[in-house]
């Protein structure tokens, strides 16, 4: 290959023979070739089409790298999806827990009288013109209603709670520290016929009221509202066990 430029003359190469115009042309051609190749390579690199010219080994390496990265990303996706599902599930269950807690809170609120209650029930008006109806009669009335399945009561403006107490005497009945004035109005939520029947049993509240010179009207209704409220009481000593 190095013989090519030597030419037809097999003479030992000397400086004089090589310093002619031919050598200059050859050198110029080589330099031009170099410049051409440099530009070629630079353009090829700048075009970014290096993958097309890359060696199979390099391509395999790049492919491996990409596949490893893909695997990593896939496992990352799986992990994130799993945690997303977990969070969604826990979100669902916490929602359920919240709804359950709200249901319980509503039930307890009706029981303790901290929330208004409405539903079918009876309105009872006990008139006491002689002022002789004792607090026991009202207490009996409440007991009878409770036995008959009433779920929420109020007497006049006072809601009946678990710690309600009738005190005072006939004509001056006091309920939970508030004086009641006749006629006494009792509103109870429950099954209306049952509640009415419970008050009307012989020797029951109705008879007692009559003996005391009063009258009692029971009005059954599809919808009565018990809207007097009690303040919730924080227990001083008792704490939930467990």
């Amino acid at each position: 290959m190095t013989d090519a430029p030597v030419g037809p003359d097999p003479q030992p190469p000397t400086r004089t023979r090589w310093s002619g115009g031919g050598a200059h042309v050859l050198i110029a051609a080589l330099c031009a070739l170099l410049g051409f190749a440099v530009v070629l390579q630079v353009q090829r690199t700048a075009a970014g089409d290096t993958l097309a010219a890359a060696r199979p080994d390099d391509l395999v390496q790049i492919l491996d790298e990409l596949q490893r990265r893909e695997d990593d990303l896939n496992s990352e996706i799986a992990g994130l999806q799993e945690s997303l599902g977990r969070l969604q599930r826990s979100g669902d269950s916490s929602e359920e827990a919240l709804a359950e807690a709200q249901r319980q809170s509503a039930a307890l609120g009706i029981l303790t009288g901290t929330v208004p209650a409405t539903g079918p029930g009876v309105s009872i008006v006990i008139a006491d013109p002689d002022g002789r109806v004792p607090p026991e009669v009202l207490l009996d009335a409440i007991q009878e209603l409770r036995n008959a399945g009433a779920e929420a009561f109020q007497v006049g403006p006072v809601r009946i709670g678990v710690d309600s107490a009738f005190t005072g005497s006939g004509g001056a009945v006091v309920l939970d520290g508030r004086a009641l004035t006749a006629p006494y109005t009792i509103t109870a939520v429950g099954d209306p016929p049952t509640l009415a029947a419970a008050l009307a049993i012989p020797g029951g509240v109705l008879d007692t009221v009559r003996r005391a010179g009063g009258t009692m009207d029971v009005t059954q209704s599809d919808r009565v509202t018990v809207d007097a409220l009690r303040q919730p009481r924080e227990p001083l000593y008792a704490r939930p066990a467990q």
């Binding site: 310093s19 080589l30 330099c31 410049g35 051409f36 440099v38 530009v39 090829r44 080994d57």
Partner: protein
């Protein structure tokens, strides 16, 4: 001087023509360019040392390019093409730096 002119002409032709590199040549072109650069720097240094020989230049140029391409080809066949390419570039780079240092000493006397 005509060599520099030829270099510029080559660059200009390359810029104007926008040729495409044949597939089989693509892996060898960068190495060949570096090898040719080595030869050119060597020739420039010889010129400055006043020992420039056109034959030496031409032969070293062609031989450099061919040997570099052959080494890369061999490396590809042996499965170590990338590593051998790196080795060739490193060696040629060192030579280019050495020649460049000699040229610098000639021009700047430092």
């Amino acid at each position: 001087m005509y060599a520099v002119l030829a270099l510029i002409v080559g660059v200009a032709v390359g810029l104007l023509v926008h040729p495409t590199v044949p597939e089989w040549l693509a892996p060898y072109l960068p190495i060949a360019v570096v090898a040719a650069l080595d030869a050119v720097f060597g020739g420039l240094r010889a010129k400055l040392d006043n020992i420039f020989d056109a034959k030496v230049f031409v032969v070293s140029f062609v031989a450099n390019v061919l040997v570099a391409a052959f080494i890369v080809f061999l490396g590809d066949q042996l499965g170590v093409g990338t590593q051998l390419s790196t080795a060739v570039v490193v060696v040629l780079g060192i030579r280019i730096f050495g020649n460049a240092a000699a040229i610098r000493r000639h021009i700047f006397k430092a």
